[in-house]
Symmetry: C2
Subunit: 484 residues, 2 copies
């Protein structure tokens, strides 16, 4: 049986069922991703498209084939698998749906059949009912619009929709990927095996998982535990409620009974549990850009008193602390920040001093240097003051202010190794928000749409690293044992 390592770097790919109907979707995706190997589309009704010759059948292709992407009707899939096995492929990604998730006997039978055919020769199946692999470094993709740029995040998703959504939204937020797997019904390759692979994979530094149900509970549990001992693992479980679990059953055929195992995953391992698309995105973003942080005391900076109040509430609710500043520090801040509406406590309310570069950089660097502050969240409100909102009219001023913020934030990041998170609420001026966001991302500072969301991500991250530290200490205290 081929391992994941053996299947994910194909030299040649056949796309069976590449059709005009979907504008040759998978073909175009591979071309867009810059796949360097040979692509052989198979469709008896097409002669050529995108400069590629089409073949009538797999057997007609005058080359060995490593990977098949199969997008024909369910009932035709067994024949494709049979031919693929004959042809000596290593892996078949089955996009087609209409298998066990349909709930029909015929669907279940078909799924069993294809696995049996493949397993005889150790051929692996990803899916059915999935989008397959996005592996930018190797030129594999399931969309035409995902970035070729690679990064540290591995994502394992039972849902094709969430695989696409997370990859796209991730790229947009500054998250780049080592490998993304959409594995659908998990007829052969399971989440557990993919997580084990990403745990071994040196290019993957952070593992994110969307799961609806597991058939191999103990292995999944072990995979998550081992992974979370080595790298951050963020898990979003779909179908935790009765209505969601009903939907999951018809989506990927995910079976009930697994909730208990999944609960255990979160209590008995150091995986980070998240509850929504936004939270998996934000938490992954925080892990991607921030250094490890073990305590939860945050320094808050904003330019409105009301925001300072509600940001403090938001941080506290996620388990972060907003410690008071020492008398000395307040005096130091007070020497550069003064005037109506300012406050030099934590949260710091810059108010009008926001326009004074010295006030901004002194604030950020002073908070960053405090031994009882572990991280900073800086709220950048582009609509404040009002002339900054019309960013395009004041590009130099805006650029100067945002550069001051990002330079001093980078200093805290680099000199003290403390996380700095930027929040830019999308209030009114969408173009200005985009420009400001891109400037901070360019400076490698992660940007969130609210302090609430930044705080949640930061709290998740701090909890993970703190528990990691404890687990490592326990590990070191243990008498050496023979590995099982």
């Amino acid at each position: 049986m081929y391992s994941i390592e053996e299947i994910i770097e194909p030299e040649t790919i056949a796309i069976v069922g590449s059709a005009r109907r979907n504008e040759f979707y998978f073909l175009r995706s591979l071309v867009a991703a810059g796949f360097k190997g040979a692509i052989y589309p198979v469709n008896p009704h097409v002669k050529s498209a995108y400069g590629l010759k089409f073949y009538k059948s797999l057997s007609e292709i005058p080359d060995k084939i490593d990977l098949i992407i199969c997008a024909v009707k369910a009932k035709l899939v067994p024949e494709v698998v049979r031919e693929g096995v004959e042809k000596g492929v290593k892996c078949i990604v089955i996009f087609s749906s209409g298998f066990s998730e349909s709930g029909t006997e015929e669907g279940k039978r078909l799924e069993k059949e294809i696995v049996e055919i493949a397993r005889k020769r150790g051929v692996r199946i990803i899916g059915p009912n999935c989008m397959g692999i996005y592996y930018p470094e190797h030129g594999l993709s399931f969309r035409t619009d995902l970035r070729r740029k690679r990064g540290p995040v591995g994502f394992v998703s039972q849902s094709g929709g969430h695989a696409i959504g997370f990859s796209l939204a991730g790229n947009d937020a500054g998250i780049f990927f080592s490998k993304v797997f959409s594995f659908g019904n998990a007829a052969d390759v399971t989440a557990s095996e993919l997580i084990e692979f990403l745990t071994r994979d040196e290019k993957t530094k952070i593992i994110a998982v969307y799961i609806e149900g597991v058939k191999d509970g103990p292995r999944f549990m072990r995979a998550i535990r081992e992974a979370a001992l080595r790298k951050p693992v963020i898990v979003w479980k779909g179908g935790k409620t009765e209505a969601g679990s009903r939907a999951a059953a018809s989506h990927t055929g995910a079976i009930a009974g697994s909730p208990k195992i999944l609960d255990a995953v979160f209590t008995q391992t150091n995986a980070v549990q998240v509850e929504s698309f936004d939270e998996i995105l934000d938490t992954t973003l925080a892990f991607t850009y921030c250094p490890p942080v073990y305590e939860n005391r945050v320094g808050l900076i904003s330019i409105s008193g009301g925001s300072g109040v509600t940001n403090s509430d938001a941080c506290t609710k996620t388990g972060l602390e907003v410690p008071q500043l020492s008398e000395e520090t307040r005096k130091k801040l007070g020497s550069v920040i003064s005037g109506a509406g300012t406050s030099v406590k934590n949260p710091v309310d810059l108010a009008g001093a926001y326009l004074n570069p010295e006030a901004v950089s002194t604030t950020v660097e002073t908070l960053g240097a405090e031994p009882y502050i572990d991280s900073i969240i800086f709220e950048v409100q582009v609509h404040y003051p009002s002339f900054l909102a019309k960013f395009v009219d004041t590009p130099e001023l805006a650029a100067m202010i945002y550069k001051t913020i990002s330079d001093s934030c980078k200093e805290v990041l680099e000199e003290y190794g403390k996380p700095v998170l930027i929040a830019i609420p999308p209030i009114g001026y969408h173009e200005a928000v985009r420009i400001a966001r891109d400037m901070f991302l360019e400076a490698k500072l992660p940007v969130f749409p609210s302090v609430d969301r930044a705080a949640k991500a930061l709290a998740n991250m701090a909890r993970y690293y703190k528990k990691s530290q404890k687990l490592k200490e326990l590990e070191e205290q243990k008498p050496q044992q023979t590995a099982v």
Copy 2:
């Protein structure tokens, strides 16, 4: 003592301290809002600006003055108030800060002094430390970029920042205002009095409140209770945590001790409690566009199975139900929706059928007609299918699909009086998201950035209307009493 009704429609306004330093901020705001009355800026160092003559002092103005906007340093404010009272004004909005919120004895003394001066003649003070009034119908505003368009929402905010943020973000989301008050330290006019006013105000149909602390607990409690019996009242309390309450003390001088009263507000009245900027925005948006709904059974439509699963989870977590469809209804949907990846349960997964107008409208209208479905949330994923994401390349197709959705949603809204909420996740294609969002808003359908947020708003709304109904029933059962 003038009532709020008597002060909020000034014919003449003097702006004391209108200065080049802030680019004549309040002057420009009034001009932008189209104020029809006379504006008299006062500043001995300026001759004229924006075509208006400046005066050296209030007494020099050859006209009666109804309202003063005061933006001079704190220590100069008592003199302005004294002159204003002499001049016969009805109300003074004090933007200046440096009063009780500063925590200094001098600040507290100044605040007491100005109130004493004003009260002798019944002159009202809004603030100090506030932005004042945005009343688009009368041409009053505290920003140059707020819409002149008026609407049903009254907002009372202790924070100037949140008053601006909520008004701007509201305008952008399709929320328009009857009156917005930023009242800061509440030295004279309090949240309670403003809420009582908005309760009486026929132009205000929905009341939103941001509050940090109250000095007149019992009156506030009564005001909220009475208001919530007549219209939806949404309250966001800042400073509920220790850190937040510390920040509130230096922001608006809000005092501790009030949390208990505020807790009672939520348990003993029908006010809707919200916990974040996003939630007050979303809940206000839902109340603005949706008809009353008394039960919580929602029909979910999306075009991805994974989203269906996690949307069901999100709805359930907020207290909504996602009921199963009857066998008959499933058959009906199955006759128009078929093919790989679709699901005709609740949630409905349209998958590829999304491109078929008949499938879309049949789904929306069928769910809308079901007696056990009280509302619909339709998730529009602009990145799905991929060619729709490049909205600009396929404007006719996109417009056709979105028109089908909005037409059928409007039918449910109008024919069955059921709320329909649209969720458009901001994934990757920001321009396409904007265009789609504007199309739905144009059709008077409220748009949220996720099903999670739409669900929370819908659940808040359903809880309010259900409790309202009960309270009304109780009221009717009571023997008639003499009003106290």
